[in-house]
Symmetry: C2
């Protein structure tokens, strides 16, 4: 099928007004800052053809993008999806991929506004999500200060325990709620141990944690290093009241930010290595969950 027909197909599925020009033309709103995030989903790294359906791949890609907007306290508006399609990914795969992606997008009123398409020897997808926050209110990784309390939403290790088959929910309402409360925030895409290390590096501080909410059926190791949970990790000054839960989503106090060496994490008093998901640590890493599946 020629590219023009594929684009027509995506237009029809998405109802997108913008696909057709060289660029999307988007309005700007006064008083807002723009949020932009980019994410990849690559065959044999983030998913495998045999174990992940096209619809789940589409949902996951959109969830990764939306979760970054949630982590900044923003409202997502537009998504740009680029696809390199292997020969095995035909029109049915393409349709199911976009249906999965659009299901999550519509739930959060995000419009598909463009992208690019090409053939390739593997299937790979990239997403860029544009969102917005009121000027000056974006949550950053760099705002944690010694004495701040460290929190996490939900329970960790869920993705690893489901063998990376669950569909994550981006925590968009929590992110917006935290805008006036959190001193720093990020989403947990690569595991608590690695991501808390990153937050502390950006904030030039250390952290000491004592507790981690483990998802039922997950091991403590999966909760610490499994990754792909897309919960929000955040800090707030001790005087800021953070409830135990928000609309049914648990918010757990993990520990405290300290003034030590930047990026150093203590868990129950012992150093915690910044281990987690990193496709560059191993050559040709197996797709997530594959080691468990086989």
């Amino acid at each position: 099928m020629p590219e023009l027909d594929l684009i027509r197909r995506i237009r029809r599925l998405s109802g997108s007004r913008w696909i057709g020009d060289d660029c999307a033309v988007l309005p700007q709103r006064p008083g807002e800052e723009l949020l932009v995030t980019a994410d990849l989903l690559v065959e044999n790294v983030h998913f495998r053809r045999r174990t992940h359906s096209a619809g789940d791949c589409g949902w996951r890609l959109m969830a990764r993008g939306l979760s970054d907007i949630a982590a900044m306290g923003g409202t997502p508006r537009y998504a740009f999806v680029s696809l390199a399609l292997a020969k095995w990914a035909g029109e049915q795969w393409l349709d199911a991929f976009y249906r999965g992606l659009l299901k999550l997008a519509r739930r959060h009123r995000v419009q598909l506004a463009g992208g690019d398409l090409t053939r390739a020897s593997i299937t790979a997808a990239g997403i860029v999500v544009l969102g917005a926050v009121p000027g000056g209110t974006a949550l950053r990784r760099s705002g944690a200060r010694p004495g701040d309390i460290v929190y996490v939403s939900g329970a960790l290790g869920r993705a690893a325990a489901s063998k990376w088959r669950d569909l994550p929910e981006p925590r968009l309402s929590l992110g917006r709620y935290l805008r006036a409360k959190a001193s720093a925030c990020m989403d947990l895409s690569d595991g608590l141990a690695l991501d808390l290390h990153r937050l502390c590096l950006e904030s030039r501080c250390s952290a000491a944690i004592d507790e981690v909410p483990v998802y039922p059926g997950a091991t403590p190791a999966q909760a610490l290093t499994g990754g792909d949970d897309y919960e929000l990790l955040f800090t707030a000054p001790p005087a800021t009241r953070i409830p135990c839960s928000l609309r049914g989503l648990a918010l757990t106090r993990l520990g405290v930010i300290t003034a030590g060496s930047p990026g150093r994490i203590l868990f129950a008093g012992r150093p915690l290595a910044p281990a987690g998901w990193d496709s560059f640590r191993r050559i040709n890493p197996p797709a997530r969950g594959m080691t468990e599946l086989k």
Copy 2:
């Protein structure tokens, strides 16, 4: 090398302030509309490891993105670059890729504002460029009307004649110049025959052309269907004065927009098939220029 070190390396090369949070936070300017474009550059489709240097790959990717902003009459501001790196693409390749990309970006005052990195079995890159136009002035593909004159910048077939080794220059000043003059505009990424067909489809009209400026050393077929020239194809009402050249760049009158069947093109009185670069027309297409090189 772990991902954190690779990100540090890219931060150092680019001097980017934004890489580090989950999203880039960008200012909006009153009275402007936002332009957004997405493009892919995939190994064995758009380039090959043996014939295209890392620096040229970086330049080409940036040129593809900037050319779309030029086609809309915009000013580019920010770029987001995502990279899936095969094992063969080590730190030296990465450095050279970003140097090539940043050289062109700096010439047009475009800032690298984010992206994503992963390992993969092939090397593939995606770019999203954000730009802006004064509200309501963006050039579209859909504005051509019967009677409008069809123009093209530069000479065509240059990329094919150089065996896809030349480095394209995005026509950003021409695009801005055309904002108040052109009725429709797009960039020539896939060849005149296919791209003029697309412009006429979007404008629901036909075109009759009599002349094509052929690059010295290129064949007429390369000029019509070679693609990758990144010149601007545009239309303007007959009363609008378009000079023969602008700052040394030739602007050639190709023919006229007519009221026929949408997308139908006549060249010297005979139907011209919408042939050109389309990675979906062939299964596992060779990289551009490879058929000529071997």
